[in-house]
Symmetry: C2
Subunit: 194 residues, 2 copies
């Protein structure tokens, strides 16, 4: 049940409508958690029912359906309670690795293109993260505690992307070597080179 807690955190930073929260997921939050507007509205309704958040009274004409939520004391307590919980390691799921397994077992499938494409996507993400880092966490600047912790989160993303880029390069080199060597057999090669 992490979504509720992501939303609590974000609302604690700054009250917002469901729509605004959805946009925040496109930016900073989206790095390590995602949600569609559907999920967000549903979850906000639950959280309101649980007494964790409340909508601010409508301003002006009152014809709009817009609802801006803020965190209630019970919501803040719930966030702190949850933050103290232990969680198992996040399970890794990667479709590309599943495809690579298929490639290993069902023979050469030409996965190089897809790996190269992923590598480029990881490069794009890394570039975007680096740009945020240069903008918000430039070296030498004096940062608040909050900013320094946020920087740690960004750095986790940077390391993650870097590690996939490095792996992709290694994998492409190995697959190229395999293709060139012409070793397509399922059994270990018969002719030893020594």
């Amino acid at each position: 049940m992490s979504l509720a807690h992501v939303l609590l955190t974000s609302l604690l930073e700054q009250p917002a409508t469901g729509f605004e929260l959805a946009r925040r997921f496109d930016k900073a939050i989206g790095q390590f958690w995602q949600a569609t507007h559907q999920q967000i509205y549903r979850e906000l309704a639950r959280m309101e029912a649980a007494g964790w958040i409340a909508a601010a009274p409508r301003v002006g004409s009152g014809r709009s359906r817009k609802r801006s939520y803020g965190v209630l004391p019970a919501g803040r307590e719930e966030l702190l309670r949850w933050a103290g919980e232990e969680a198992p390691l996040q399970a890794l799921r990667d479709e590309l690795m599943v495809r690579l397994r298929a490639e290993a077992i069902a023979g050469p499938l030409g996965l190089e293109r897809e790996i190269a494409r992923h590598m480029a996507l990881h490069r794009d993400k890394l570039r975007a993260y680096r740009a945020i880092e240069a903008e918000d966490f430039a070296p030498g600047r004096v940062l608040s505690r909050k900013a320094r912790v946020m920087h740690l989160i960004l750095k986790a993303g940077i390391r993650y992307e870097e590690s996939w880029i490095a792996w992709s390069a290694e994998a492409l080199a190995e697959l190229a070597a395999l293709a060139e060597g012409g070793e397509g057999g399922v059994q270990p090669p018969r002719r030893s080179s020594r």
Copy 2:
């Protein structure tokens, strides 16, 4: 719909019962995909209905409910078709990073313990992967194409664990520095040190 394709790949390597497939998920497959026995049985039933796999005729007494599945030509075709598809980057979800965001915004929550615990778990995984590597892909050994591709998958796991271990060390150091410096404020520090 990756689960079906994981199962196709595994059955192609070696026919198996649902139970045996579940155990394979605890080992090699589990690195980048997970499934409970429930999901596996449900999916096998679907795949059989779709004509991708078939159960081998019962051997011996025939009193057992055991069903061993093998891949049919249609299943193999489906696997190859799917392997050629493009997929977006795997979305990253990490509850620990969500907690760290809460820590950044809702004040110090003592997340160091949890980060250290995760670091130890990542170390365990890395050690296990390294043991497999030493066992199955020792340097200098002549490996089949299949083994070399499998090694690439393992290496992806190794890099992933290494990158989290390195991040954890960095995060713990930074959090320790923050605690020591006594900077708990939300605003940038007032007293410049120069």
